[in-house]
Symmetry: D2
Subunit: 336 residues, 4 copies
């Protein structure tokens, strides 16, 4: 029988997109979509282009969790953990959490960047949901911490160098479209603020930093990173420009490229390019497009990775994880 | 002595721009800027690009109106009338109101589109502040109803045809940048809503309609207009496309053009163009750029007019009016 | 066996998209893609986001037409007719022409707006490829004149009123994204020209006018239309705002809406909306989203229709036609 | 008598803007504007928003250089040097060259990044036209090498650190609007290419690199820089994000800020901000807005600088230089 999936918090950008992807997925059934302020509104009134003909419901787990096979939780950081715990307690066997709540393995680090962790006992259960790094663990996981959009692009950009022990230091300059800031209407997301503009934010410390460092360390590169995001006048799309001081500055360019080809051979959603990728190349796809270059003058490696922040950076990655967890073809419902 | 001018409601887009124009004006002195929610904030923190080094104050007319020579009121429709009345009562001799509160001469019409008029006794004092139509009255006015942005562009587009009795019917399709929707952060002004989008709003009746009809009638064209605005993914700029059924469909194109040249000869802020104007042509200027065409197949006249909605559609028009009221050169402080 | 389809002129925006749609189509096989200046380039180098792993070939019909089941011709107006004739002569049984060459049934009208028609003898063979109007004829057609993007949106907006004999007169104000201007890099398509701008073009007579009038007449509304397109700072998307003087100005709004519901009941790619559609609602879909309103003050009907100019306005419409011609499910390969 | 200034190459974006600034300048007279392909066109037809009522002339130095007091040369790199030499030979006493031809002091470096220098004998005459660094030399200069837009922002961002000997290494990630790519209509400047996109270009070596390194060395920081520009979907504006490894990583943030305040005290066109600047803050101004931050986790300094690439990055900087050369107030004609 087709597994049933509910999306909790489907009024936001990532939750709504997750609902659309599940709704159209040939191997999954969208059981319910929930929202707080927008409960009672049809999702296809709120987001006509997603064409999901369901009404957003207020949270009522007695109904929504009953017999549910899987959940995608698209709640704000901090608010997600408790819902995840409740879903697990009610026997929902597969939960993908889009928040940061289960990404950091050390509750002390979480507390430093967010607040005291409400359900630290669940952290160990969670698998970091980046299939290119943790595919096997994801297959058997019951709780997925879906990566942040910036860590997704950054880790995919740097994994081959990290595994090779080549990263001595790295500066990450990230550029994101406005959908990454979420649906809340604020001065910062007002069209007039963003249009014809570009500026950095979260300076000098952005919350995605510890997540990047944790996973780089796990890959073999225990470095402190400089990570600075910028807001761009575009909707969907994220580019990270990574400037890597190599442990061996004489590494030939061909060797760098070869490492990427080896690392990502057979990966269905990684594209290697000769020229720097643009975010348009991956818009509305689950693909991460990467190019690696070596600056002979400075010996640095420069790596670019482009993703769609709402897709590979959140919602389609969640579906990719569900596919793995259910033993479905990894690209079902999200292939271009 | 340089006349002192205060801007009431300077935290919004038009008020802030008015403050900047007054601040840089060689013949006017910016005495104060007020705001509600943003009181206490420096205006150059809120709008760095305006570079007005004043702090927004809460409304305290005992201070702000004392010895004040003129006021620009940039309050929401409905809220402006009472402040205007208070300023007049305190002896402020020149008031320019950017709201709709004194534009409609018939309080019954005002009530139909807004609410009961709070100060109907002041309506007769107000002069409609479109210098190209009412320059002499403006010079001696004490209260100016600054026109709406859409009426400004539309009336300048149609005045020559209206005066000639040539307008039998007119469809006005208007296109505006997002700054016209104001500073309030809402779903409608969120970057992600507007970007890569275009749609009509205020269908089928927009509040600027009666203002347009009132002034067209005063010019000799007592017609009911179809007026439909659209929101565009750009910041500042407004284009009206006017499709006019002529009372004499055989009017030759050259005669149409001649009427515009005659009407606007010597007008410092009207530009006549051979080809359809773009809003970039007038960005950050007090200029209205107009082209007139005749569709030989249908006999219609097609007139386009482009303005910057924040400038000629609001703030620089207010300063143009102040210049006339103070006997200053009409273009001082607002010439390109 | 899966029918083979070649796209001739696949280096332009519509041809490239058509190639992508055919390439991913489960019931069609992309046999070849051709180009002039870009021959030798891989299509996925030129358009990475389409991910079509074929190399653009120079035109060589001995190879490309041999055994070919169908062709999509994405040549410029004027250049397409001769290729279409050649393909028909070589026995290609199904040809969809994206140009204007076979849209106008009267070669004299074609000559007036373009040039003398090179293959007038083929005009009678062509079926106007708007499935919502000519579905049955399309099923058995061998040559399809794929409609222009503006006529597609306009005719879908007006067909219910035209068939009811309700159109006395109509003004069509159209707004298009830049992709509608094609891939040629010119002053007009330069980012700096278009960004933060909007202006009309093709004033007062645009080449899509006779196509609109021909089809409106066929529907029962033999009117001369005023049609004025505008260029907007967005990529894909087209909105037409139609201002209709009704033959019966007292037609109640509910009757107008009912006519649309009746006309489009069961249509897979028509969406009726209560509020004015935005082009984002239909981006990258084959859907036309329509709303109809009545302005009680003037008695006019106002109809908005939004499409994606590259999809429903060109490439996905071509595939919809091929589906009908091959007896495939109408939405295969183009459903959202 | 008002000095006469001609702009050579006024059909491009920077030349046209320079013409406008000179035309409106109260202390300078615009004597002529020249162009190649656009000779014969009125500049206000080509760029209506600049409102310069002159006709572009073909180059005829017998006329244009006769009695000319100053010239702004807005020719492409490589083509400018010979015109500059000719103007100098004809006795034009003040020449500001917007190209790269006289920026690099070492002809061998120039040759490595461009081609053999056509007039190496003139290089020593040239003063690098960044007033914040070379104000006194500019006052008496006869030939100004106007800095590139990226070097302008970068050097202003880094000068206080460079002079203090604090720069051990620096990564410069630059973001530019499309006007920086010039007026040529190409695939790269097509609206559809740039819109909703961002990507790096000139990887791994961009021609502005040696100019930055030369001037950093002159300031006391002889480092090899990593410089990577990105193209953004906006018109005018440029942001550089500089990641500096400090020679003393324990430098306290307050000391960093103090160095900027000391360095730029009294500078009319430098703004120091507490929060990262956006390019909108400086649009259509001669201002460079800078913020400096220290990342305590890595010890790096992060410096942002925003300019308008066409203004402070080219045309208004040229006028600032002319003001200094003519002994005019430095901000005349370019103050906000």
């Amino acid at each position: 029988m087709t597994p049933s999936v509910a999306v909790f918090g489907a009024a936001g950008y990532t939750g709504a997109l997750a609902a659309r992807l599940v709704h159209r997925h040939p191997g999954l059934a969208l059981a319910a979509v929930t929202a707080r302020a927008d409960a009672g509104t049809r999702l296809d009134d709120l987001y006509p282009h997603h064409r999901v003909p369901l009404t957003l419901e207020a949270l009522e787990l007695d109904c929504q969790a009953d017999g549910l096979d899987a959940a995608i939780v698209a709640y704000p950081h901090g608010a997600a953990a408790e819902l995840v715990a409740e879903l697990r307690a009610r026997g929902v066997g597969k939960v993908v959490d889009l928040s940061a709540d289960f990404r950091l393995r050390d509750p002390a680090v979480y507390e430093q960047w967010y607040r005291p962790h409400p359900t630290p006992e669940l952290i160990d259960e969670a698998v970091y949901g980046l299939p290119e790094l943790y595919r096997e663990q994801i297959r058997s996981a019951e709780l997925i911490a879906n990566p942040g959009c910036y860590p997704t692009a950054t880790l995919l950009a740097l994994a081959p160098l990290a595994r090779a022990g080549l990263i001595a230091d790295v500066v990450i300059d990230a550029k994101s479209g406005v959908s990454g800031a979420g649906r809340a209407a604020t001065d910062k997301t007002h069209f007039v603020t963003v249009d014809e503009n570009v500026s950095a934010y979260g300076v000098p410390r952005h919350r995605h930093t510890p997540e990047i460092e944790q996973e780089l360390a796990a890959l073999g590169a225990p470095v402190k990173v400089t990570f600075t995001p910028h807001l761009l006048p575009l909707d969907q799309g994220e580019l990270v420009s990574c400037y890597v001081t190599l442990t061996d500055p004489d590494t030939p360019p061909a060797e760098l490229e070869q490492r990427y080809q080896d690392e990502y051979a057979g990966e269905p959603f990684i594209e290697l390019a000769q020229t720097p990728p643009g975010v348009r190349d991956v818009r509305e796809t689950n693909i991460c497009r990467i190019s690696v270059h070596r600056d002979e003058r400075t010996g640095r490696a420069i790596v670019f990775a482009a993703i769609d922040n709402l897709w590979k950076g959140a919602a389609s990655a969640a579906v990719q994880n569900l596919n793995l967890m259910f033993g479905l073809p990894e690209g079902e419902g999200i292939a271009a």
